[in-house]
Point group: C2
Chain length 332, copies 2
């Protein structure tokens, strides 16, 4: 398995060596306001002003998580940043910093890593200004892999867990439902070549025709600041929609010991797509019925006594994405 070269005859990781590659990447990484000591020593030192910090980690793997013919290096960095920032936001925290470990084939062009660094910088600037990359690790691997760990500051608030939803609460969402999954389905429908492999030219054409669905899949913009807003408004429970509304709503219901009942009329024209589609990284939260929803959130259901997920009062058993059984072993 090899990573497509962005620039023919460009420097590769193997010919440049680690120190030279790092020198090319560091200037492109976003600075973190919370970094008391940034990259270059054995470890970084990050400010944790309230005496605690929030931490989450997530990997992106060539094959199960992305195709090089469809995603640019920039897209990979953007999406890795966005998905981890959303997990921090789902605790009601403000993202402070990221560390990024990247493993790539030694034959990869250094422009691959430069593009990934650009994606991290632009995603942080757009989604969570002030958050930046404070450290990382470069390794060689046959499989391009990004492992991101993100940190956040609770600013003195209690974290918003999955387990606090109570019967009578309103269920609300901030962000898209099903758009990233619809974009992925469209790519598999229209951006494969005759042999069934991911095709770069067809993906480019699809991006021009369907910019919103493609952006939802390649460069998602989860509502990071709405995590803090939900916490301040009094959200009783919250999580990040990474594996699809159905599966993640069921997780919130199970953790809280309640039933989540969604209103199909609030889920858009394609209810099944809204329920099944993964990777939206929108925020699903429960709020006491008496309070006004914070800007960005819209009501999509209610918390009831019981368990599991229902739609319009009927038990819903449709699923979402499982990382160990949802991949067909293809890459490209």
């Amino acid at each position: 398995m090899t990573v497509r070269q962005e620039v023919p005859f460009d420097d590769t990781l193997g010919t440049l060596g680690e120190a030279a590659v790092l020198a090319r990447i560091f200037p492109r990484l976003p600075h973190a306001a919370a970094a008391l000591l940034g990259p270059g020593d054995d470890a970084a030192v990050i400010a944790a002003p309230d005496g605690r910090f929030v931490v989450t980690t997530d990997m992106m793997i060539h094959g199960p998580d992305f195709r090089m013919a469809w995603s640019s290096p920039h897209d990979l960095g953007w999406k890795a940043a966005a998905s981890n920032l959303a997990d921090v936001a789902a605790m009601g925290a403000v993202p402070s910093a990221l560390v990024v470990a990247i493993a790539a084939p030694s034959t990869s062009s250094v422009t691959l890593l430069e593009g990934i660094a650009d994606g991290f910088r632009l995603a942080c600037a757009a989604l969570s200004p002030g958050c930046g990359v404070v450290g990382g690790d470069l390794s060689v691997s046959p499989t391009l892999t990004l492992a991101v760990t993100a940190f956040g500051d609770l600013e003195g608030r209690a974290p918003v867990l999955r387990s606090g939803a109570r019967p009578g609460d309103v269920v609300a969402v901030s962000g898209a439902l099903g758009a990233a999954g619809a974009g992925l389905r469209m790519l598999f429908d229209r951006a494969l070549d005759a042999a069934g492999h991911p095709d770069a030219a067809r993906a480019r054409a699809l991006r021009a025709r369907e910019p919103e669905l493609m952006a939802a899949q390649f460069t998602p913009s989860p509502p990071i600041a709405d995590g803090k807003a939900a916490a301040l408004a009094g959200a009783t429970a919250m999580l990040d929609l990474s594996d699809g509304l159905a599966l993640d709503a069921r997780r919130l219901a199970a953790a809280s010991g309640v039933c989540v009942d969604l209103h199909s009329a609030a889920l858009g024209p394609d209810v099944r797509a809204a329920l099944a589609g993964g990777e939206d990284h929108s925020l699903l939260a429960a709020f006491p019925a008496a309070i006004a929803l914070p800007a960005g959130f819209r009501a999509i259901g209610a918390v009831r006594v019981g368990d599991g997920l229902s739609v319009d009062g009927q038990l819903y058993t449709g699923g979402g994405w499982d990382p160990f059984s949802g991949w067909d072993n293809a890459d490209g």
Copy 2:
């Protein structure tokens, strides 16, 4: 590329699915005293009592970093924990918590992940009691990959950087020099089969004959508590020896703007092995000459005006390990 099954016909990650795999792993992971909220939500919450935290991240990749015929799953977890804990210790900090992202082929036995979890638990208990795993991520990948991020508490002290060594300081080390590298060389000399592939039976025989060198390579025991001891004693600079004494001493010299001069008589019987061997994860530090070295440290040289690395006053240009050019693309 497939991961060797530990138990024939055992459950695999693909057949069990993510939730069932996590249920098998969680009970084996070490608890962190600093965890205010552990695994199971979008993110964990960790105590950072002095208002800062130290963070480092490091990957281990099947092929460049380990062979499945030589390392047990337990060894992989142990080594991933130990190498990250050493980076925290090298700042003068006390390790508080780890997050662990693992990507494995879907055909892997769940016992692979259980063994890795056991290695993390036993390494934390032996090397840094109270430190534990507070969260993680499971993914599917053709290449078994462990990405660890480790956190530490500075307990109100300034971090010990690489850049503080001053001419006249004593250069000292705590831990082995060259043992892990000698163990690896011995494996490549004596634990390959006739076709040149890693051989499990020969590696087992070598472990019985050379338990110390094999332990240095497979289950290193870096002196984690000596990082705090060095900071308390007044170390002016410190780093973790991951890529070999020569390369890492040169890094300390460059960051501090000094020359590090090592005394060959203090480097053991095989001076070249002590200088070149990587993966010891010992702590290299500089101390003002007037102070008594803390227990665990032994003097191996002195800081002088100048730059680079010398041995007995002679410029030394021998190298160490580069992750992008040191791997031959083999695995097994």
